[in-house]
């Protein structure tokens, strides 16, 4: 086996590969840019090598820098992770020329499949059903419009080298085709150093389902079931699961066999993924093949017990697969939620900065991965598994230079229902502060009826959250649990306040039993009767909840039992009350004595200041350009300004027809959140 491998990547995937390598007794080399000097992958690896400045096109995707690191450290093989150089055939060639093993497929397979146009042709030749589209490259914006009209709107404009939602746009008309072509091209150039663009028909109401394949260099190939990745936002996957709640055994088999056949047609040898679009009638169309480890590979590992990174390393070393298709068994259900540094309340715009608090839920081992002894952490075994693949730590920095993904939280359980429930609980216990992130949104998806029924398509987020995410309204039952918990917590905090020194002896304050809890516009008068192991909280209608918790004032996570059921609340402070976050809701909870509640009811509702005539910067970023001038009349939807943050260009548009009266920013300005960019009449 290899003695030392280099991981040509960063973040969670570098950490993930290091874990398996360490288990296999292989030494690891991390590479890092200036921005990653203190990154987790650097401290986890046995050695680390500096490869340049923060921008990826000056460090992580510069082949010469990686080659230099290999030479300096004597690594025998390279795992490329995903993104960066993972599907760059020139890199694979350079390694081969230097006599270093590439932990990935052969150069020929990367070339054939890495290019979406070539791969589509190959798939057609192999009789795999494909989506209609134009097989050539697009020259310019007008060409894009012409082709789009030929294929028929809606169309998908894609970077040939693209992936992960970068360099991809959907266009519904000529204007959007023009604009989409330009922004795809720019993003592709920035992210991949390859600005080739193509166009295909955009299949409406599709599901995104992909097959994991694993092939060795001895002609053996198997598939490890599918992953359902339909929940995407702007083509970026957010929630994945395995297996798919939609596939039947026959479709699974057909897709799997075609995927393996396609892989073998290009002498594939490694782990790879064949992506399909599946329509409502379970017709599937080949989309593309990713010749690398997918971000969402953990869900496959959790239901099959196969460590895909280990298999990749073994295959790269020349070993034969030790399992056949018959050995592959899908057990239980796994869900992955991607935690992104994107603020769901601000249209999912990137949020960068310091993680002042980062405490993922405790990992827990269970399922096939544990049975096959492939569990990566030293976690206690349970009936559900919790796995968190991450590359960050409390006090670490989410920088503007790289992908905004913070962590991949996975749960496994024997059934889909139980896996979802485990995920809800894990999300409730996941503490992330300092930056905006999509945790509340993920919680909301886990409680969404369409997701629960498994009936989602790739349009799920667009259709279910057309106005963006505006938070969660909890049902009465959940509110009552929270109200009861807060009443009990408030009582604990108030009793502590009465124990301050300097009291008038014999005239201490008596903390009462009657409270009024106000939350989400509801008011719950309750009576709290505390005893040695908890409190009985009785509501006005006579119903009661039994609350027990070890919470003490200051604890930011409250683990509570309400009538025997677990409840995890994130507990913060708001003036005079609690800020409670749970199940995607972000609540202000006030617990008051009846007299306080009576007087609080007299207080006027304050109206938030009017910002409708201002364009506020939705995220910290750089002004790329300002499209309008003072005095311009702007139409609804007209582009006003472009802000670049985390490599993504975000066009800010007019919300309604108006006239620009003042502009406070020019191109090149670096803006903070909520800075006023321009003002309107």
């Amino acid at each position: 086996m290899f003695k030392k491998i280099l991981i040509a990547n960063r973040g969670e995937i570098a950490c993930r590969v290091i874990k398996t390598a360490r288990k296999m007794g292989i030494q690891t080399v991390a590479v890092y840019s200036d921005a990653d000097k203190n990154a987790l992958h650097v401290s986890m690896a046995d050695e680390a090598y500096h490869i340049g400045p923060p921008p990826a096109n000056q460090s992580y995707i510069v082949i010469d820098k990686i080659m230099e690191a290999i030479k300096a450290t004597g690594a025998e093989a390279v795992h490329p992770g995903y993104g960066f150089l993972s599907e760059n055939s020139k890199f694979a060639e350079a390694l081969s020329a230097a006599g270093v093993a590439f932990i990935g497929p052969p150069v020929g397979a990367i070339e054939a499949m890495g290019d979406k146009i070539t791969s589509k042709k190959l798939a057609q030749e192999a009789n795999v059903s494909t989506v209609p589209g134009f097989m050539g490259l697009i020259d310019d914006a007008e060409h894009a419009v012409k082709i789009s009209n030929e294929v028929g709107y809606p169309v998908m404009i894609k970077a040939s080298a693209g992936g992960g939602g970068k360099g991809m746009r959907i266009a519904w008309n000529d204007d959007e085709a023009r604009e989409g072509f330009q922004s795809s091209k720019n993003e592709a150039a920035n992210s991949f150093g390859d600005d080739r663009i193509f166009i295909e028909k955009f299949v409406t109401q599709p599901r995104h389902i992909e097959i994991q394949v694993l092939c060795d260099s001895h002609g053996n190939g198997i598939y490890l079931g599918e992953r359902e990745c339909s929940i995407q936002r702007r083509n970026q996957k957010v929630v994945e699961e395995a297996p798919s709640p939609f596939l039947d055994e026959a479709t699974r088999k057909a897709m799997g066999e075609q995927a393996v056949a396609l892989a073998q047609a290009v002498d594939y040898a490694s782990a790879g993924t064949v992506e399909f679009i599946v329509d409502g009638a379970r017709n599937f169309y080949f989309l593309e093949m990713n010749t690398r480890l997918q971000v969402e590979h953990p869900v496959t590992e959790l239901i099959t017990g196969v460590d895909l990174v280990e298999q990749m390393i073994r295959v790269a070393y020349g070993e034969k697969l030790t399992m056949t298709q018959d050995d592959v068994k899908l057990t239980g259900w796994a869900i992955e939620n991607r935690l992104y540094a994107e603020d769901p309340y601000r249209g999912f715009l990137p949020s960068i900065g310091r993680l002042s608090r980062y405490r993922p839920p405790a990992e827990q081992a269970s399922g096939p991965l544990l049975e096959n002894d492939k569990w990566q952490g030293d976690a206690p075994a349970g009936t559900v598994a919790v796995r968190n693949d991450t590359g960050v730590f409390e006090g670490g920095e989410i920088s503007m230079y790289y992908d905004p993904m913070i962590a991949k939280l996975c749960t496994w359980a024997p059934t889909r229902e139980a896996a979802i429930e485990a995920m809800r609980n894990a999300l409730d216990g996941f503490e992330v502060e300092g930056i905006g992130h999509n945790l509340p949104f993920l919680s909301a998806v886990m409680d969404h009826p369409i997701f629960i029924k498994g009936e989602m398509t790739t349009a799920f987020i667009e259709e279910e959250y057309p106005e963006g995410f505006e938070g969660v309204e909890l049902p009465d039952e959940a509110l009552r649990k929270i109200a009861a918990s807060c009443a009990a917590m408030h009582r604990v905090a108030e009793i502590r306040r009465t124990r301050v020194s300097g009291r008038m002896d014999n005239h201490e304050r008596h903390v009462g039993e009657n409270w009024v809890v106000s939350v989400q516009g509801q008011s719950y008068p309750v009576t709290v009767a505390a005893d040695h192991d908890g409190s009985t909280v009785t509501f006005e209608d006579g119903t009661a909840l039994r609350v027990a918790s070890t919470w003490t004032p200051g604890d930011q996570l409250a683990t509570i039992t309400v009538d025997g059921e677990g409840l995890v609340l994130k507990v913060g402070k708001v003036s005079g009350g609690f800020r409670i976050r749970s199940r995607g809701a972000d609540l202000k909870v006030h617990v008051r004595s009846p007299r306080q509640a009576e007087l609080a009811a007299l207080m006027p509702e304050k109206v938030a200041p009017d910002t409708s005539k201002l364009l506020l910067c939705p995220m910290p970023g750089l002004v790329v350009k300002v499209d309008v001038e003072v005095g311009d009349e702007v139409q609804e939807g007209q582009a006003l300004c472009t802000i670049e943050a985390m490599k993504m260009e975000n066009i800010l548009r007019a919300e309604k027809k108006s006239v620009v009266t003042k502009i406070n920013a020019v191109a090149g300005d670096s803006l903070a959140v909520d800075e006023v960019i321009m003002e309107f009449e």
Partner: protein, 510 residues
């Protein structure tokens, strides 16, 4: 007998209704609570004991003798906040607009005198149209009597003012001399002369809110120490503040049970200081991670944000915190921040509250506006305040401590008890670049040489060890152990006794 008892009850009922139901409803419709409702929220349930419920004015001019409501527009007395004694007066806007008469003033003076004598805070809830014009100079005399007692109480018992309605003219000077002023947003204002007079004299058009609203006084003038959304929130927060304060200057600050491990390690503090020495970071994260239960009561949050002041607890005991904020003006000292911090330090010293100082200061803000504004004397206020303070003083330098600002920020030389530095600290006369350009003036044209000199200077001085060699830094500590080190330092200082030479009072550069 029963009739006599009933008469007391009847009289009480009348007195409690103040200016009557109609005016109470009007007060509510303005989003304001009545004087008695406010007391209910401020004090522990059923703890209020009233004084002078039946006091009535003595004015016989302008038909005033026809109206002599019991209480005369102010409710006074005492009660407890979490079992601790406080004195309170609450002006009743429903009675003559809360205007101050001779007898109204006497009621306030009575509880001020008791508070000073018995060693408990005075909390004033202000909601008054001003002087009782009908009483003329008697009303002015009343103000002055209150002022004199504010002055005598200063530094003896904490005095807190909550502005919950109008507070104009002479009335502003009583709150002005108390330790803390809080305002209620949208329903309170304070000014010496109102918008009408302003317009007549200077032709300026200004609304009462712009001239003296909560926003003006918390952000621009620094007259107020904080503002709250409404009466309920304001009074809850005053209760919270009182929990931090000693009852008088003879007492140690209060201690309450705590649930936070004093030895708690915060690994994330090791990465708080950015790689780039000029990059900002949020000093509040350090404060919250050091404090018990991340509980911090900030004073003057919206003014001179380049310095942070407020109260936390360590091992359950109150500690005053002063910290430079690198997020704003790079954390430099200037006129506003020096004044803000100096006043806070003096409050802490007056009431035996230990002071924790976090330092990251690149120096004083340069510029004509600062010099013309008298930064020399304002900066000296902070220097003076730290130097005269005899309470336990613990200082942690996290990054920059440059020039005179190093001396000012509770340095060892100002009788600091524990002066710690993080390994990232740079204690020097100025930044490396500036220093090099002075020392090696001859090489100024040669960028390469200057760079080399700068590097030399950085290697020599951009660290805490030069200061540590001289004993100006007692120890260089790991950021992650800051809470533990600071808690232990204060624990060891609980018996500290230090006295300044006898003097009538000092002559701080006001």
């Amino acid at each position: 007998m029963k009739d006599i008892l009933q008469e007391l009850q009847d009289r009480r009922d009348v007195a409690r209704l103040g200016g009557g139901q109609k005016r109470i409803d009007a007060q509510h419709s303005r989003g304001k609570l009545t004087a008695r409702e406010r007391i209910d929220l401020l004090l522990d349930e059923d703890s209020f004991e009233e004084f002078d419920m039946f006091v009535a004015h003595r004015c016989t001019d302008f038909g005033m003798e026809e109206q002599r409501p019991a209480g005369d527009g102010v409710v006074t007395g005492w009660g407890t906040i979490n079992g601790r004694l406080v004195y309170v007066f609450s002006q009743d806007f429903t009675v003559f607009g809360g205007s101050l008469s001779e007898t109204h003033a006497q009621k306030i003076c009575k509880i001020q005198d008791m508070a000073i004598q018995n060693g408990a805070p005075v909390i004033g809830l202000n909601d008054s149209g001003g002087a009782r014009i009908q009483e003329g100079v008697a009303s002015l005399a009343g103000y002055a009597e209150v002022f004199q007692r504010n002055i005598m109480a200063s530094g003896v018992v904490p005095q807190i003012s909550v502005i919950m309605g109008p507070c104009a003219g002479g009335a502003v000077y009583s709150p002005a001399m108390t330790d803390f002023i809080f305002m209620v947003k949208d329903s309170s204002y304070m000014f010496v002369t109102g918008p009408d007079v302003v317009k007549t004299v200077t032709n300026e058009q200004v609304t009462a809110e712009e001239l003296g609203g909560a926003s003006t006084h918390t952000k621009k003038s620094s007259v107020a120490d904080g503002a709250f959304e409404n009466d309920v929130e304001a009074l809850a927060e005053v209760r919270r503040l009182v929990d931090f304060l000693p009852l008088n200057n003879r007492e140690k600050p209060p201690v309450r049970p705590f649930f936070d491990e004093p030895g708690r390690v915060e690994q994330s503090l090791d990465t708080l200081i950015p790689e780039n020495a000029n990059a900002p970071y949020d000093m509040k994260e350090l404060i919250l991670k050091v404090a018990d239960e991340a509980d911090f009561y900030e004073i003057q949050e919206d003014f001179a944000k380049n310095i942070i002041t407020g109260f936390m607890r360590l091992e359950g005991q109150t500690v005053g915190v002063v910290a430079n904020q690198p997020m704003v003006l790079a954390g430099c000292l200037d006129i506003d921040s020096s004044r803000k911090a100096a006043r806070f330090v003096r409050f802490c010293d007056a009431f035996e509250i230990p002071i924790l100082t976090f330092v990251d200061v690149p120096g004083f803000l340069p510029g004509t506006s600062q010099e013309y504004g008298g930064v020399i004397k304002h900066g000296a206020k902070l220097l003076f305040a730290y130097g005269e303070a005899t309470v336990p003083k613990v200082t942690v330098i996290t990054r920059k401590a440059y020039g005179g600002a190093y001396d000012v920020m509770a340095s060892k030389h100002l009788r600091g008890d524990f002066n710690y530095a993080w390994p990232t600290a740079e204690i020097a006369v100025m930044g490396a670049k500036g220093a090099t350009e002075i020392i090696h003036r001859g090489d100024l044209g040669d960028a390469e040489k200057i760079a080399a000199h700068t590097k030399d200077y950085e290697d020599r001085f951009a660290n805490p060890f030069v200061a540590a060699e001289k004993g100006f830094i007692d120890e260089v500590i790991q950021p992650h152990s800051t809470r533990k080190r600071v808690s232990r330092a204060f624990a060891s200082l609980r018996g500290k006794k230090l006295e300044n030479p006898w003097k009538k009072h000092d002559n701080i550069p006001l």
